[in-house]
Symmetry: C2
Subunit: 172 residues, 2 copies
């Protein structure tokens, strides 16, 4: 049976996922973070490393799930909780199903690629041999804000590059 978490514990573990998101932002990755918890202990954690590793599969949740499987030496993450700052994509929703994770907490929705609430409700398809209890909204504001700031900074950076190119062209 899944170990039930208190409201304080839920907040604490989501704050750790958020710390992971901040690590991603620091190295220029889309700021998403995740932790997997087993009996009140973090047994896997990860942040987005797609650009650094040049690996399409290096999402926060996938890294955290792989680490958790390694820690437990089991592909079944029964009795575990996954905390992730942003709504999982198709790949990460599939990794949640494949590892039979019973419980997922996510912060903010991803209206463009979220597969848990936004585009589909893949974690609750009764035709599959596993369904997931989903909790939504912890650290929602923080999770959204760090994403918005990240993309705003990227746009500004690109605009500045374009501007400086134009200026240098004027002097050629």
């Amino acid at each position: 049976m899944t170990n039930e978490l208190s409201a304080n514990q839920e907040l604490y573990f989501m704050s750790l996922a958020y710390e992971e998101a901040k690590k991603a932002k620091k190295i220029g990755e889309v700021p998403i973070g995740a932790v997997v918890v087993y009996q009140n202990q973090v047994i896997g954690q990860g942040h987005n490393l797609r650009e650094k590793d040049q690996d399409a599969t290096a999402h926060a949740e996938l890294i955290a799930i792989k680490a958790a499987c390694h820690t437990l030496n089991s592909w079944r993450l029964w009795d575990c909780q996954l905390f992730v700052t942003i709504e999982p994509c198709m790949m990460c929703s599939g990794a949640i199903i494949n590892s039979q994770l019973p419980e997922v907490y996510f912060g903010a929705r991803d209206p463009k690629a979220g597969m848990v609430q936004s585009l589909y409700q893949l974690l609750n398809d009764q035709r599959l041999n596993h369904q997931v209890q989903v909790h939504e909204g912890l650290f929602q504001k923080e999770a959204s804000r760090i994403m918005q700031t990240f993309f705003r900074e990227i746009r500004l950076h690109r605009k500045n590059i374009k501007k400086s190119k134009q200026i240098s062209r004027n002097f050629e």
Copy 2:
């Protein structure tokens, strides 16, 4: 642009995916294999290693995609083809979308968990920022047969264990 393959090349690359499936069967894994092709060269390959690695994410396609990203040093698998013996699951369909693979060939459908044709058509959702050209049916019989044989052998093995336990109990 994706390099167009001849019918013979398609057969050849699917036969390589099938060879990967056979490797999985040999070590007691669900026999599914995959290869990623770029400009007529295999740049990533994999077979199911879930039990051996005790890793819920160790599916053939995911391993092949990770390897292909590593080979190209790019998370974008533009101009590549993925060949896989069985219809991809949710996680692997997501990895295909995330790596922007333009073309996927699969052998046989998976009516219980297939996300490309059977339960959903996730590779052709127009709301996502990537869609995939899907080819179905190459090596269908072989891909199905190796799966059926594998599961038949597992059932037989379990039955024999049960029988031998009963016999030993009779002598206790």
